[in-house]
Symmetry: C2
Subunit: 171 residues, 2 copies
């Protein structure tokens, strides 16, 4: 069961990773007590972990009839999970960076030193913006197209060439 530890590399802490790993591996939804006992962690810690996973929109809660317990399970498919982790990390890492950069770009540079700094910040800002916009668009594409695109790999360049030729012919 220790394999859940790999989650520790993915933006949440060790126990939260283990908790989620456990849910993924188990076909049946689990109760908070199941989790606490399997992982040998305190009940309170599980509660906090659940909250964290919910903030990542990674789990769904169900109830069994005649039972007051809450049952937790991963929300959606593995693919959904990846999208969400990706999205949330963008929100937590990239977006704050972007707004910090924007704030700084508002100040007009007065010295030469500042002009250079300004230029550099602008470059970072634009790069980050392009990349995240693009990533956002990829996410809205349907999964099949995305898979095609990925299978294509570096063949993408060839397709782009084809496109250019088509446009040239049409004009």
């Amino acid at each position: 069961m220790h394999c859940g530890e790999m989650g520790s590399r993915w933006g949440f802490n060790r126990t939260v990773g283990q908790m989620y790993g456990l849910m993924i591996i188990n076909e049946e939804p689990l109760t908070a007590v199941d989790i606490a006992e399997t992982l040998n962690i305190s009940r309170g810690n599980v509660s906090m972990g659940i909250k964290e996973l919910q903030s990542w929109r990674l789990i769904s809660v169900t109830h069994k009839p005649k039972d007051r317990k809450e049952y937790y399970a991963p929300a959606g498919s593995i693919w959904d999970m990846a999208i969400r982790v990706f999205e949330e990390r963008r929100k937590r890492e990239v977006d704050p960076t972007l707004s910090l950069l924007r704030d700084n770009l508002l100040d007009e540079p007065s010295t030469e030193q500042e002009t250079y700094a300004h230029k550099q910040l602008l470059e970072i800002h634009d790069l980050l913006e392009t990349v995240t916009e693009w990533a956002g668009e990829l996410q809205t594409m349907n999964p099949e197209n995305l898979t095609t695109l990925m299978k294509l790999g570096s063949g993408v360049s060839k397709v782009l060439d084809i496109k250019d030729k088509l446009l040239a012919n049409n004009s």
Copy 2:
């Protein structure tokens, strides 16, 4: 100068982020002492930070004639920087996850429970592998093509349709 703090979100700790921010903002290369004084951190801490940044392949060291000091500056363009952070994070986060998954997939499942777990792990593994392979291929593409691709955004699906039609015609 506190704006360098945003680096704290990007995989290294606060001071290392500040150090790198400082180098990006300054046109001229800096010495270890410059950095320590500007950021009010100890000389030893700077040395460790330099080491860390070097392990990310993010800085280059130069020497001035008649001067024994080492001068540090960001290695390469902003674009290079992004590629490197991306690549290094893949190495540190994704690759270990993949090899952990592979290890686990070697064990043949014996119970039904394990069969399910096995299936889930396989799915995660395949997804991660596809995505990282693709990301790797994107990196080898020349920047212009990449920009075209990004500008295209979700229009990519249209190009793929065109490609499919072309292939259909050729057959």
